[in-house]
């Protein structure tokens, strides 16, 4: 069945990603935390370090590596900045739509620049009507003179303001129950990133609203076929969006563990480091077991995906588990820090806030359970 060890090459990817995160991303984190913006340096760094090229095929200027490599990179980057990992992973969502469902022309047009980081992408599905209920989508399109005209509003879209290339899901005004996905470029008339959200966590990760008013999109920007929009959106979100959340969660979880270990070894109470106390040790045990389990769920799903299989179910289970576990780990980390866990100079306060944004991203825990139940009962 399985060899549970990473290859030499995968270990090198991990090393490269870790060094990148520590030298190129970490210095920008304080500013991002402070302003909830200032994402430009990390976005540029991601592009330069080829992080956006991981899942783009070599023919279009990418590295043609798979989802395991992507998970490794996300995990390492999230240890340093979940906000950055989130922007990277959602960028990968936009890329996936084009790679899997795009026409040859679309691939040639958009992928090379996405690979170098010259342009950035995202997928816009969620609306005020609910992300958990995508069919309630209000953004609509209609065919006019051979082009499509889109109208509506998207919210909670990661990379809303950064993305040059967005895959937007909309419902047909003419044909009932028909969803389609369109590539919309930044700067297109009638397509505007408006409100920027200020989130409690993942600060510096660009989240915002899109206002779409009489936005004309050329016919060649339709992704896949008309009517396939929902399945395209769902496929990319379930297989890649959730996978990306797992990377964010695993990285954050490791960071919680590392910070807690360092603190517990230095903090003296009753004449000894608190890492000697069983109550504290049991928290470490909980964190560690969860992390090991989460890793296995995640890498198993990624490995299956690399073999070409559909992995929506496996990712749902992994996303649920790792994001819930990361939230528990962050709470443990704060508890271990005692009073210091409330002080902003201690990174665990950020971990706690980041952890809880993991929950509703790319599908809430409850939705994950719905999917897993379906997996069992179908």
């Amino acid at each position: 069945m399985i060899d549970f060890t990473f290859s030499e090459e995968q270990n090198l990817f991990r090393k490269a990603a870790r060094e990148f995160a520590e030298t190129e991303i970490a210095p920008h984190v304080p500013k991002m935390e402070e302003t909830s913006r200032d994402w430009d340096p990390v976005i540029t760094a991601l592009g330069k370090a080829e992080m956006m090229a991981i899942t783009i095929p070599e023919d279009y200027g990418g590295l043609g590596l798979g989802y395991v490599a992507r998970l490794i990179a996300l995990e390492e980057i999230a240890q340093v900045s979940v906000a950055t990992a989130m922007m990277m992973q959602v960028g990968g969502l936009g890329i996936e739509g084009i790679v899997k469902f795009g026409t040859e022309e679309q691939k040639k047009k958009y992928l090379p620049k996405l690979a170098t980081g010259e342009s950035f992408s995202t997928t816009a599905v969620t609306e005020p009507s609910g992300g958990s209920d995508p069919k309630g989508c209000g953004t609509s399109y209609k065919k006019v003179n051979g082009s499509y005209v889109l109208n509506g509003r998207k919210c909670f879209i990661t990379n809303s303001h950064i993305a040059d290339v967005q895959i937007v899901m909309a419902i047909s005004e003419d044909i009932p129950d028909t969803f389609s996905a369109f590539i919309v470029e930044k700067g297109t008339d009638g397509f505007k990133a408006t409100h920027e959200e200020r989130k409690v966590g993942m600060r510096g990760c660009n989240t915002g609203e899109l206002e779409i008013k009489d936005c004309v999109v050329p016919a060649e920007n339709l992704v896949g076929k008309e009517g396939k929009g929902l399945s395209i959106a769902m496929a990319t979100i379930s297989d890649v969006g959730r996978g990306g959340m797992v990377g964010c969660a695993l990285g954050l979880h490791q960071a919680c563990l590392d910070a807690s270990k360092k603190f517990a070894n230095e903090r003296i109470l009753y004449g000894k480091p608190i890492s000697n106390l069983q109550a504290i040790q049991f928290k470490f045990a909980d964190m560690k077991i969860d992390l090991e389990a989460g890793r296995l769920l995640g890498y198993r799903a990624a490995a299956l995906q690399d073999k070409g299989e559909r992995t929506g179910n496996e990712w749902a289970a992994a996303k649920y588990f790792t994001t819930e576990a990361a939230q528990r780990a962050a709470k443990h980390a704060v508890d271990i820090h005692g009073g210091y866990g409330c002080m902003e100079e201690f990174a665990v306060t950020r971990y706690l806030r980041d952890a809880y944004v993991l929950g509703p991203s790319a599908g809430t825990s409850d939705i994950m359970k719905v999917i897993v139940a379906r997996w069992v009962l179908s």
Binding site: E8, N11, L12, F13, A16, A49, L63, L65
Partner: protein, 265 residues
């Protein structure tokens, strides 16, 4: 096109290895699996080669002597941009001191192909003798400059370099082929890239043992080492520390008192 050799050593991660202690009972080092990394100064040696490759075109061969896991380090060097790797690995090479190490490396370099310049880190993080570079030079009958901090002129086969010296540096003129040992001031090694790691898939790493080098076992490893370690003694701590207690300010006051009693303030 230049033919460059970079000698690289796989060393236990310095931050971890520096905490190792001789066991007072067994009088030897406890077995511990410490991850191996590229000897930090060798990264600077490789970077020097890579910069020359970028400037003039070069073929870079990595030589490393070590047990099989050291192969990962060689692969990492290929991922960073070297062209070929040769791992000298053989149980007979174990226990080598600087002399035997240099001899083995020199024999391999000689066997491989004509070389214009050999870069080495000036010392390893474990061991840290600084001897291997100069001894390789002697065995290859090449001149050597140690502790190079800057390459001032690298055109043709007469170079000018700056090497660390007492309270300053010396300007040195050298004729290739030569051995150069480098300090960390020489350059800033570029990081690993994903595409570099991918490209390394097609690069060759050979493993050579003493038979391939055609040297008898008497001349390598422990047998070929003129020096031998005879004893490891743990050192007992020598002072009874008094920990100064109290609040921050109380500790400051007490320390100032100690310094004042010592005539320092």
């Amino acid at each position: 096109m230049l033919n460059i050799v970079v000698c690289v050593k796989a060393v236990p991660e310095p931050n971890v290895a520096n905490k190792l202690k001789i066991d007072p009972v067994t009088k030897s080092l406890p077995r511990q699996d410490i991850p191996l990394v590229i000897n930090p100064l060798d990264s600077h040696a490789l970077e020097a080669a890579l910069q020359l490759k970028k400037k003039y075109g070069a073929h870079i061969t990595i030589f490393s002597m070590g047990p099989p896991p050291a192969g990962n380090i060689v692969r990492e060097c290929l991922a960073l941009g070297a062209d070929k790797g040769i791992l000298l690995t053989d149980p007979a090479f174990a226990g080598a001191d600087a002399f035997a190490t240099a001899y083995t490396l020199a024999k391999a370099i000689e066997k491989n192909r004509a070389v214009d310049v050999v870069f080495c880190g000036m010392a390893s993080s474990d061991g840290a003798t600084e001897w291997v570079g100069p001894e390789i030079a002697t065995f290859l009958n090449m001149p050597v400059v140690t502790m190079v901090r800057e390459i001032v002129d690298d055109q043709g086969d007469e170079w000018i370099v700056k090497a660390d010296y007492e309270h300053g540096y010396r300007m040195v003129k050298l004729k290739l082929p030569a051995v150069i040992t480098v300090t960390r001031d020489l350059n800033r090694p570029k990081p690993l890239s994903f595409s570099g790691i991918l490209k390394a898939r097609n690069k060759e790493i050979s493993e050579w043992n003493h038979e391939k080098l055609k040297i008898p076992t008497e001349l390598v490893g422990l047998k070929g080492s003129p020096t031998k370690v005879t004893e490891m003694t743990p050192l007992e701590s020598r002072r009874n520390v008094k920990l100064i207690e109290g609040s921050l300010q109380e500790k400051v006051e007490r320390l100032v008192q100690i310094l004042s009693e010592a005539g320092v303030v």
